[in-house]
């Protein structure tokens, strides 16, 4: 049980790659925090620095109140679950799980008790005598979790633990890991490149790009109020539609103009003062697919556009509609019962009150 503090942490690999740049992150005790970002953004590096597997170029890391920069991995009181599980192939499941306790000279009876308790929670009691190679991917994953659990560490570090599993197993393991977190009441730091995992599992999410934190917030807030273009595009599936536009004033109202289309910018999205200061300037509007619907306008906040449907992808409960609007490929999410077919020409309506507006130059969200 411990909080984790990263203060101005920077990591430069030999050869000049700055994998992590001035990282500030305060993880609370018992929190389930997710580090999410595209491949190569430095997520693993952050995790490995917390674990002590990677040296820190500059900055400070605290686990609890203790500065751990110079503390060996085994003395940091953390446990790590690796992407490829890193189970010891020559040891049985039992021995894999008992290994750390044995090295700490824990009495045999206590080891046995702890291993069996963890195995019970993870439902792997029947596998204790097997070697890792005789296990399925999902079973190995559980063993890796079990190996982390037995030591009762103050923090769990998980590096893309589900990425080697098939889709179905991934979904069920997601729920199990969340449950495990609640059961154990320990700090979890979870790394993934998958925004779905991030959204469904974390108390808070830190979105990372090129070694820099873009935004840290709860899943809902990230979704509702992305701080910049990158977060807007990264969080949410299907992706937010991002369209370059110019601010135009017509009468008292402001519009985002692109091509022949004018999309209303309602005052609750961008206040009149701000909008006025952006008049004639470039912005990017972001519209989530679920806020584009079929048919004509439903309220005076709506803007209707026309589109040729490139592809209508039915998911059962919902349908993804791919179309091109003024040269920008867009996606709309409509109810599954919608009759839109590939090749149709239809009118679609944007709910402008749910629009996001970003400064084109800085990429930052202008106002919510």
């Amino acid at each position: 049980m411990a909080s984790i503090q990263l203060e101005h942490v920077t990591k430069q690999y030999p050869g000049g790659v700055t994998a992590v740049d001035d990282f500030n992150l305060s993880i609370e005790d018992r929190e389930f925090i997710i580090l999410v970002g595209p491949s190569g953004c430095g997520k693993s590096t952050v995790l490995r620095m917390i674990a002590g597997l990677e040296e820190i170029t500059s900055g400070e890391i605290f686990i609890g109140d203790r500065l751990v920069n110079e503390v060996a991995p085994k003395d940091r009181d953390i446990a790590m679950v690796f992407q490829n599980y890193a189970l010891y192939p020559h040891m049985t499941v039992y021995k894999n799980m008992a290994f750390s306790l044995k090295l700490r000279k824990t009495p045999k009876a206590e080891i046995d008790e702890k291993v069996r308790a963890a195995a019970k929670i993870l439902d792997i009691e029947a596998l204790l005598d097997r070697k890792p190679r005789a296990l399925s991917g999902g079973q190995r994953q559980r063993v890796a979790l079990g190996r982390a659990m037995v030591r009762n560490p103050s923090a769990f570090l998980l590096d893309e633990p589900l990425s080697n599993l098939d889709a179905k197993l991934r979904t069920s393991m997601r729920a199990e890991i969340t449950k495990l977190h609640q059961q154990l009441g320990t700090t979890f730091v979870y790394v993934t490149h998958d925004q779905t995992e991030a959204m469904t599992m974390g108390d808070r999410i830190a979105v990372i790009k090129d070694g820099v934190i873009q935004q840290i917030d709860t899943p809902q807030n990230l979704y509702d109020h992305p701080a910049n273009l990158f977060v807007g595009g990264f969080i949410g599936s299907p992706q937010m539609n991002l369209i370059d536009a110019t601010v135009k004033k017509v009468a008292d109202r402001f519009f985002a103009t692109f091509g022949e289309t004018d999309v209303l910018i309602p005052p609750q999205v961008m206040g009149a003062d701000v909008a006025a200061s952006y008049e004639g300037k470039s912005i990017v509007i972001g519209i989530r697919p679920e806020f584009i619907s079929e048919g004509g306008p439903h309220s005076d906040c709506d803007t209707t556009i026309a589109g040729d449907i490139d592809l209508a992808e039915s998911m059962g409960a919902e349908k993804f509609i791919y179309f091109v609007c003024e040269g920008y490929p867009c996606i709309a999410k409509v109810p599954g019962k919608s009759g839109i077919q590939t090749g149709d020409h239809v009118s679609l309506t944007i709910d402008c009150s749910k629009m996001h507006i970003f400064d084109k130059e800085s990429g930052l969200a202008i106002s919510h």
Partner: protein, 324 residues
């Protein structure tokens, strides 16, 4: 026409059914010829007294007398046997310890690693005869490089008769063998080391095993299968060491380097006592055979036990039909 086709159809299954045996027959015959015939012929020889009269070879059945004689009458067999065991144990142990240690170093990243690795292989790539001749010259009492170097360094004043005293000669043959054979251990050990995933060591360092603990608990068990193979092959090869002794010492001085395989050669071709030589060959082969058996048992035991249990557990699990 129809009849022919029908016949053909009848024939096909026959060939198909016997295709396997047909295909392996030639190689089986060859293996039989070069392996089993000599084995049985040697057995036959070992059970006979063999003498020559003119162009004729005369076999006289002697039962196990040749074998008994080895341990009773033969003046050198016992000492040769002891020397051989000593030689095998010392060389194999030294080669594996040095080889594994060197492979650990060579497995680390450093500048010029490829070059050093390549250089390491040289002694092993060299024909044994060349190696033997080279060491014979190095240890030459009058012109040898060993004496030259030591005298230049001022460590010794007068030359040492390296190959002239029993203990020294044994040591020299031992060194020559280690020098030549260790690279092979390094080669295989490096190959084995490079298959160990790096994250195992990371997991171990978090679990509390770094440095030596990681070596004993991760590295060694992971390269154990390769070490087993090395142990078996090295032991058998060490038992067969012949060229080094033949060229460097001819088994001397005072039988100090009279290894069994050289002694067998001596008895067979110098004393023309083929019966005794065949008996000795059999003793030597049986030792090698028994050793491989023991090694395999020793090393595979742990694994096997767990595997069997696993299979049982799997069967039990299947029986209760409760898989995830």
């Amino acid at each position: 026409m129809k009849e022919k086709q029908a016949k053909k159809r009848e024939k096909e299954p026959f060939f198909e059914r016997h295709l396997g045996p047909i295909l392996i027959t030639p190689s089986t015959l060859v293996i039989f010829g070069i392996l089993f015939i000599p084995i049985f012929y040697a057995l036959y020889m070992s059970l006979n007294r063999i003498s020559f009269r003119g162009a004729d070879t005369i076999y006289k059945f002697a039962g196990i007398k040749n074998f008994v004689n080895l341990f009773t009458i033969d003046p050198w067999f016992k000492s040769s046997f002891v020397t051989t065991i000593l030689f095998v144990v010392l060389t194999v142990a030294t080669e594996i310890v040095i080889g594994v240690a060197a492979s650990l170093v060579l497995n680390k990243k450093f500048h010029g690693r490829g070059f050093v690795r390549g250089l390491m292989i040289l002694p092993w790539a060299m024909p044994t005869v060349v190696n033997a001749v080279m060491w014979k010259w190095i240890f030459n009492a009058e012109y040898g490089a060993a004496n030259g170097l030591l005298m230049k360094l001022g460590i010794i004043k007068t030359g040492i008769a390296w190959l002239g005293t029993p203990k020294m000669a044994f040591l020299c043959v031992f060194l020559a063998n280690v020098w030549k054979e260790t690279p092979y251990v390094i080669l295989l050990a490096i190959a084995a080391l490079s298959t160990i995933p790096g994250d195992l060591y990371e997991a171990a360092s978090i679990d509390g095993a770094g440095g030596w603990k990681a070596f004993w608990r991760i590295t060694l068990p992971m390269i154990k299968p390769v070490l087993l193979i090395l142990l078996i092959t090295k032991t058998i090869w060490a038992f067969q060491t012949f060229d080094l002794v033949a060229i460097m010492t001819s088994g001397g001085p005072q039988n100090a380097t009279n290894l069994l395989s050289y002694y067998i050669h001596f008895v067979a071709f110098k004393q023309t006592d083929f019966g005794s030589a065949a008996a000795m060959s059999y003793v030597l082969s049986m030792i090698c055979f028994a050793l491989s058996f023991v090694y395999i048992k020793l090393f595979m035991n742990n694994d096997d036990g767990a595997e069997k249990k696993t299979k049982k557990a799997q069967r039990r699990k299947l029986a209760t039909a409760h898989e995830d």
